[in-house]
């Protein structure tokens, strides 16, 4: 039971990392480590991330 749960939670962690679902948490951790002051809100962070992602070539044939 415990191993099943461990496998599932590892799987979920990977899925969150690959899909970008955990990007905000990683940003918060980075911000807390390196910058003083308030971080971006969750909404503002994802808005900025999306604009940056689609500002260049990010999809192929």
């Amino acid at each position: 039971m415990r191993t099943v749960r461990a496998v599932l939670s590892t799987g979920l962690r990977w899925l969150r990392a690959v899909s970008g679902d955990d990007a905000y948490e990683r940003y918060l951790a980075h911000h807390a480590r390196t910058h003083p002051g308030a971080p971006l809100s969750r909404r503002a962070f994802y808005a900025q991330r999306e604009t940056a992602k689609w500002g260049g070539i990010s999809r192929c044939c």
């Binding site: 899925l15 980075h30 962070f45 900025q48 604009t51 260049g56 990010s58 044939c61």
Partner: protein, 687 residues
């Protein structure tokens, strides 16, 4: 241990390749191809990629990557190598490797399969890895910038124009693929249309309701698009709704153009970004499902290894096996487009230089494997069925009886009853002349999934496959229009500065309209072409894509020579020479061949003679002037591609010769060395 695995791989690979070689006049099992592919990839990755990384690129894991040096928690983020691999694969994966192999299957399964494997291992993967590495050493600079910095302004300009043109052709041909899949198919049309509101719903969810809950939004979206596949089937049985979604190709093309224009001027979060999440999940899921099904089912390949069409008179597109199999496969083996993605977003994610091999070489290997699976899905169909679906009415005749007669006379027996019962099983009125590759791939995928998971749902599987391809294509269409817009704005900004501001609305409207008009034109001509249009557009796109790959390889070769590694420059120079030969040969034939099925000018000449003599039926005569103009335009475009390519190659040669003679060349733009201090990353663990 590593040696033993290597030897084992080599032996199994050799047996599989020998198996393919010996099964020349009997059906072969798809597992032979899968085994050969996996072994060739493993050997390429284990030995060739490792050697290139260590000796040619001289990867230095002690050197800090831009992600570490500029870490800002946003675009520069040191990322676990498998996560970065996922991001990079999602970015390079598109509909190209699904369409190309399907079209190339007209030569038989062997030529396309061999080029997918050899081209990827020695060409495409090397190109992707090298460009990724060079861009990473230059803080994630784009291919165009690297061309400008390292070769000169000419190279940069050529890369820009090349990208813009290839984008327009790509979108047009993909739009044509969707239109051909939807024409007179209420089920497909309803399902594809329904994916648009689903994407908008997910977009609103991710932006307004629950910002950034990507997994949650994607799961909701996936459930809804699956519902749309089923709902389309319901629409198809409803007498009134059915008529509402039953359209010929011309109005559908109008819808696609209008949709493309609206999508391009809407904010990304509303439509593009959410649909991209959906298409990424769909692709990952479908590719995994397809791989598992092919292994479980291990179907027989029914297409011969080589068909008579290697001599150039094939019904899908005209042209001999050399150079057209290379031009047609395009993305599954070498894709110049990948060089644009590999220089930009991905280099900013790499945590250690040691990860470049997995992310650059490995992602392209997986992409190439997708092409192999598309080839299997196309060639497991009865060849007669394959040709009946993929041959345009202008080639085999528009009446079913005439079409099956022509196709059977080629030695690929097929009957009207067989096609009717297949169409009925797939929930379609007809499958004749559904050119473009998507429907035949969907029939192949439906047969695989149907045999693995139950034949009762063939219609659902078929339309799932159509939806999957359409979602992909619409993403590319939208993202491509946007990229084209940025480039055009960049160019227009030189004429009138405010036009260069990407957020100035009049400029956004103007440039989006110009780009959509560009691909809309080619889409329109493709739709009115009685031969299906794909036969002209896909080779043109292939030439443009391979030209872009040759430009990328020129930049790579130039940089290798400049940085004193001329001894190893063959790694990129040999694929470059091959691509230059292939593209130039194909372009030459497209322009000067006297065969109207190949030569664009010959076709234009032939058509105008018929028009002048009054021998054309009224419908054909009405569209003939536009087709004639388009064929001449395409010939000019092909010439332009070739000229751009050779200009870049000559420019690269000039830089290399100067360097080898000890004359001064522009300084390298590589970022200076800084020692890496980053600890190994874990996923989701403490930062």
């Amino acid at each position: 241990m590593k040696k033993i695995t290597g030897i084992l791989l080599a032996v199994v690979g050799a047996i599989a390749v020998a198996g393919i070689a010996l099964h020349r006049h009997e059906p072969i099992n798809a597992l032979w191809i899968v085994t050969a592919a996996v072994c060739i990839y493993a050997l390429g990755y284990r030995f060739y990629a490792a050697w290139v990384a260590a000796r040619v690129l001289v990867i230095d894991p002690s050197r800090a990557t831009p992600a570490e040096r500029h870490d800002n928690g946003r675009d520069f983020v040191p990322t676990h190598r498998w996560v970065a691999f996922g991001h990079h694969f999602a970015a390079i994966a598109g509909p190209g490797p699904l369409v190309g192999p399907t079209l190339a299957a007209q030569f038989g399964y062997l030529p396309g399969t061999l080029w997918i494997l050899v081209g990827a291992v020695l060409g495409g993967c090397v190109q992707d890895m090298t460009i990724l590495f060079l861009s990473m050493r230059r803080d994630g600079r784009s291919l165009g910038q690297m061309a400008r910095d390292e070769l000169g302004p000419l190279g940069g300009f050529a890369a820009l124009i090349g990208t813009l043109l290839i984008m327009i052709l790509l979108i047009a041909v993909l739009g044509l693929v969707v239109v051909n899949a939807m024409k007179h198919s209420p089920w497909s049309t309803a399902t594809v249309f329904a994916t648009v509101p689903v994407a908008i719903l997910v977009g609103v969810h991710l932006r307004r309701l629950r910002p950034g809950r990507i997994l949650e939004g994607s799961v909701i979206g996936l459930a809804l698009v699956l519902l749309a596949v089923w709902g389309g089937g319901w629409v198809d049985t409803h007498p009134l709704l059915r008529r509402l979604f039953d359209w010929p190709s011309l109005p559908l093309a109008g819808f696609v153009v209008g949709y493309g224009w609206i999508a391009a001027i809407l904010p990304v979060w509303l439509l593009l970004a959410p649909r991209d999440y959906l298409s990424t999940f769909l692709k990952a899921g479908t590719v995994a499902l397809l791989a598992v099904s092919i292994v479980l089912l291990h179907p027989q390949i029914k297409m011969p290894a080589l068909t008579a069409f290697v001599d150039g008179h094939g019904p899908l597109f005209g042209g001999k096996i050399f150079p057209f199999v290379f031009i047609t496969i395009a993305c599954g083996a070498v894709s110049g487009f990948h060089a644009l993605v590999a220089s930009g977003t991905t280099p900013k994610l790499i945590a250690s230089e040691a990860d470049v091999r997995l992310i650059g070489y490995g992602s392209m290997m997986l992409e190439s494997f997708v092409a192999i699976m598309a080839m299997i899905a196309a060639t497991l169909l009865d060849p007669g069925v394959f040709f009946a679906i993929n041959s345009g009415a202008g080639i085999v005749g528009s009446a079913p009886a005439a079409a099956v007669h022509t196709i059977s006379s080629w030695g690929f027996p097929v009957t009207v009853a067989q096609m009717q019962s297949l169409a009925h099983e797939m929930g379609e009125a007809t499958l004749f002349a559904r050119t473009g590759g998507a429907p035949s791939l969907a029939v192949g995928m439906a047969s695989i999934f149907g045999s693995t998971f139950g034949r009762g749902f063939l219609g659902i599987w078929y339309h799932f496959a159509i939806m999957f391809e359409a979602v992909f294509i619409l993403s590319t269409l939208d993202a491509g229009t946007r990229v084209g817009r940025f480039m055009l704005q960049d160019l227009l900004g030189h004429l009138y500065a405010p036009l260069g501001r990407t957020s100035w609305y009049p400029s956004v409207l103007l440039s989006s309209t110009l780009i959509v008009a560009g691909w809309g034109y080619f889409l329109y001509v493709g739709v009115i072409d009685p031969n299906g249009g794909v036969n002209i557009l896909w080779p043109l796109f292939g030439i443009a894509n391979q030209m872009l790959a040759a430009i990328a390889l020129s930049v790579a070769t130039g940089i290798l020579v400049k940085s004193g590694r001329a001894r190893h420059a063959a790694v990129t120079l040999l694929p470059l020479i091959w691509l230059a030969i292939v593209t130039t040969a194909a372009a030459w034939q497209k322009i000067v061949s006297a065969d109207p099925r190949i030569g664009l000018l010959a076709a234009a000449r032939g058509l105008s003679e018929h028009l002048a003599a009054g021998t054309l039926p009224a419908a054909a005569a009405a569209v003939a002037p536009q087709l004639i103009f388009n064929q001449r335009l395409d010939a000019w475009l092909t010439g332009l591609f070739t000229a751009i390519l050779w200009l870049v190659i000559i420019d690269m040669g000039r830089v290399c010769v100067r360097r080898l003679r000890g004359l001064p060349v522009t300084a390298t733009s590589e970022a200076p060395y800084e020692a890496a201090r980053l600890q190994p990353l874990t996923v989701g663990g403490p930062q």
